[in-house]
Symmetry: C2
Subunit: 220 residues, 2 copies
């Protein structure tokens, strides 16, 4: 099935929103993430429904159907493989990666993505800690917890982040924090969760607001 880039964008948004809430995705929720009018969303939902890519009942929202889910997963695969390439091979900054990958993910060729995957050594996670589906669409979520749950004195590795907006990412970069960074938690403020990390011999302070967006995995 040949889809337009716009149809693909809707499928991916639908996928993301379904994962977060695990129920029907409302027209308005889609409209707001895609920055489109609700009227446009309704039109597209009808179109995707007619193609049997989603299940949609008027006024009841939509969910991905079998076929749509496969296509969305393939998009995720492409998006994340490109992110690895942009970040690792081309040294493009964290905060610039997302926007470019969002364009690249619509390039059709499967041959291309498979060669790129091989070139990168079949990476399992993208630079934001998200898992990369394989050719069959299989992937495993990593066991990880928010940084704010960590006990002082513990050493951990940064494995994911919850938001990817530019300002947040460049803030992290300035603090020398990226995927795979290892640190030890020195302290956490019981009131506002401000944390102090020991990172590469230096003390780094993060606000609770920021710490809540960071996911980690303990190593000790």
């Amino acid at each position: 099935m040949e889809l337009t880039a716009v149809e693909e964008t809707y499928l991916k948004a639908l996928h993301d929103l379904s994962i977060k809430t695990d129920k029907q995705v409302s027209t308005n929720a889609l409209a707001s993430t895609l920055q489109n009018s609700a009227a446009s969303v309704t039109d597209m939902l009808k179109k995707l429904s007619k193609k049997s890519l989603i299940n949609y009942e008027p006024y009841q929202g939509a969910r991905l159907a079998e076929q749509g889910s496969k296509l969305a997963t393939n998009l995720l695969r492409k998006n994340r493989i490109w992110k690895v390439f942009l970040y690792q091979s081309l040294n493009i900054r964290w905060e610039d990666v997302r926007e470019i990958a969002e364009e690249l993910e619509h390039i059709k060729s499967d041959l291309l993505i498979d060669h790129l995957d091989a070139f990168l050594g079949y990476p399992k996670f993208d630079p934001f800690g998200d898992p990369i589906p394989n050719q069959q669409g299989k992937y495993t979520l990593r066991a990880q917890t928010p940084l704010v749950n960590l006990k002082p004195g513990t050493t951990a590795i940064i494995t994911g982040i919850k938001t990817t907006d530019r300002a947040f990412l460049s803030h992290l970069r300035e603090k020398a924090i990226s995927m795979g960074t290892t640190f030890t938690l020195i302290s956490q403020d019981p009131y506002d969760q401000t944390v102090v990390l020991l990172l590469d011999q230096k003390e780094v302070l993060l606000s609770g607001q920021v710490a809540r967006q960071i996911l980690i995995k303990t190593t000790s």
Copy 2:
């Protein structure tokens, strides 16, 4: 100026056709290279003309204007840098490279293309022997002649090809011929220009039809 992928495609086609003939490009010529109707071409020419990207007079064909020419050259740059990446880094076959690069060239980000250029070591030519314009749009054509002009006994290097259709490219690949391949001309049939090359210790026979599409540069 933000252009759609289609507008970009027209500019590139216009550029290619202008180079070949060095005069006004006719509506039909564009229609045939782009596989579109003449009516569609007329519409687009009017649109590009209104944006001052081309000079167009009804019934007189069109040419790139200053601004359109710059945009077309930038497209060429992107297209060719991507080709180098696909061929050299990803080991994608000669005959598959063109189609994928034609999609990739429309990716907007200049940041991306500059990083990719650096990653590849600022290549000067693409895998088909075509020169890659730099950021300022400057590039130099390589002095090269058709293989059929070569005298037997001469050693030369393959530097370009005139056509890039799949069948031709896979034919060349089967004969182990690619950009940069060095060979010695053993003989050339005076009637039909069939040539025999000595290439990597082996004799390779090419029809005149094929030999006429190959460009070379003598090395001895």
